[in-house]
Symmetry: C2
Subunit: 229 residues, 2 copies
DNA sequence: TTTATTAATGTTGTTTTTACATTTATGTTA
DNA sequence: TAACATAAATGTAAAAACAACATTAATAAA
C-alpha cells in the first residue's frame, strides 16, 4: 500500500534526442562523440539530465541547444527507458525525444562549433547504452508519422523538387515508391505550391520547384489523415 | 555543457495506470479513491512510485497488483508527464501505462477487497492532478490501437456475440458502425471461431457465440495491419 | 542538328469501401 | 396453435481508392 512520499527512491532522469535530417545522400541522424566518462569517445545520442525546475520538453530543447546550438526545434516525446543498468554509473531513466530538421539550414553551424555529426541511418556507428534501440524505435515512429501527418516541411529545403520529396519518403520508408502514384497522392493533399521556377541542377529539362503551403499544411496537421504510400 | 553525473537533480518517478474494461454498459476505467494526502478522498488513477531496483514495466505491474489484486495484466507504456507542479507535494514525473482487461473476470475481487471502482469513460469523476489528461491521451491511444491491432480478446468474455464485439468497437471509437460491413471486416481478419452454441439472452432467435482463435489472433498481433472502421 | 537525359503526364483494370433492405428463427401472446 | 414481435443473418451494386504501367516534352551538350 502506498503511504506517503518518501525521498528514498529518487532517480536521475535523462533526456536523449534523436534528431533526423535529410539531404541528397539520404536520411541521417545527428550524433555526438561523448567527451566524458563513461564511454568517453564513443558515439552517442545528444542527451543530458533533467533539472529540478524544468519540464521534459524544455530539457530536451535545452540539451539539444547546448550540444548543437540548434534553436526552436520542435521535438516530440517518445518513450521512457528504464533498464536497471542501462547507464553503468548510476540508475538513470531516460526519456527519448525526436525531431526532424533540415540539414542544409544547420549544417555549417553544427560542424564548426560543436562535435556533432550526421550519419546515414543505415551506416551509423554503434552507440552507447541503449541508444541503438532508441534510434530504432524512433525510426518506427517516424515511419508511422508519414502515414498520418504530412512531413517533409522540416526536412527539405524551402524550395524542393518532387524528386526530392519522393526520395525523402523512400528513405524514411526504405522502399521504392511509384513516381506517378506518389505525385498524384501528394497533389491530392493539396499542401504544395508549384512555383514558376525550375531547378536546373538535376536535368537538362529542369524540374519545377515547390514550396509547402504553410496554411494548408497546418490545417492538415490538425486532423490526422491517412496517406497510404 | 554537460560534465558529469550529479545527484543534485534527482526526482521522484511515479507510474499511473489507465485500466480499461468493458461490459454491457460500455467502456469503463478503473479508479481508486485516494486514501492519503494530498487530495485524500478524491478519485485518482492507480499509481505509485518507481523503486530504485525496478524497471518501469515492473513498477506498473506491481502497483496495479497492490491496489487491485490484479495479476498478469499486460500494460503498455504511454507517456511521461513532467509539469513542475503537477504534484503539489514534491516534484514528481509520472509515466502513464495502460491496459485492457475483462471486467467480468475481475470484478468481484476488485470491489470486495479493494476500493477500486469502474466508471464509464464518459461519466467518470474529476480526477486529481493531471490524471484527466492522462485518461484522454490513453483513450486516443486505444482508438489508434483498434486500427492496427486486433483488440477485444482482453475486454470481452470468452464467448461473445458479434453484437458485443460491435458494441465494444463502437464504444471505443464513439461512433456508430454499419453492422454488416463491420461483420465482414472482422470475418476477413480470420481470427474468430464461430461456435454451434447460441446466446439466447438478447433475442428470440438467439445469436451465435464466437471465441477468439488464439493462434491466429497472436499472429495478427505481431504484424500490424490496417482495419478501417 | 542530333543526341542524351530527366521531367511531366493519364488510363485502365483491380480491389476496397460504402450504403443499403429483406428474410429467418424463435419465444411470446392472443 | 396461429399471429406477432424481436433481433439475427445475409448479399449486392455503385463508388472510391489503389496499383500498374509507357510515352511525350523540354532542354543542354555534343
Amino acid at each position: 500500500m502506498l503511504n506517503s512520499y518518501s525521498s528514498a527512491d529518487k532517480v536521475l532522469l535523462a533526456v536523449d534526442c534523436i534528431i533526423f535530417g535529410f539531404d541528397h545522400e539520404g536520411l541521417k541522424i545527428l550524433l555526438i562523440q561523448r567527451d566524458f566518462e563513461p564511454e568517453k569517445g564513443k558515439w552517442s545520442l545528444i542527451g543530458g539530465f533533467l533539472k529540478r525546475d524544468e519540464v521534459l520538453d524544455s530539457a530536451a530543447t535545452r540539451i539539444l541547444n547546448t550540444y548543437t546550438g540548434l534553436n526552436d526545434i520542435y521535438m516530440e516525446q517518445l518513450y521512457a527507458y528504464s533498464e536497471i543498468d542501462r547507464d553503468p554509473v548510476e540508475r538513470t531513466i531516460s526519456v527519448s525525444y525526436f525531431a526532424l530538421i533540415n540539414i542544409e539550414n544547420h549544417n555549417a553551424e553544427l560542424i564548426q562549433n560543436y562535435h556533432a555529426e550526421w550519419f546515414p541511418i543505415n551506416d551509423a556507428p554503434n552507440l552507447i547504452f541503449d541508444h541503438n534501440e532508441m534510434v530504432q524505435n524512433a525510426i518506427k515512429r517516424l515511419r508511422y508519422k508519414t502515414s498520418v501527418k504530412p512531413i517533409g516541411f522540416e526536412l527539405l529545403p524551402e524550395k524542393f523538387t518532387m524528386r526530392q520529396l519522393l526520395e525523402l519518403y523512400e528513405a524514411i520508408l526504405s522502399k521504392e515508391l511509384d513516381k506517378r502514384n506518389f505525385i498524384s497522392k501528394i497533389n491530392s493533399l493539396d499542401i504544395l505550391n508549384k512555383l514558376e521556377e525550375k531547378d536546373m541542377q538535376s536535368s537538362r529539362k529542369g524540374s519545377y520547384l515547390y514550396t509547402f503551403n504553410k496554411e494548408k499544411y497546418e490545417e492538415k496537421l490538425q486532423n490526422n489523415f491517412a496517406l497510404n504510400l
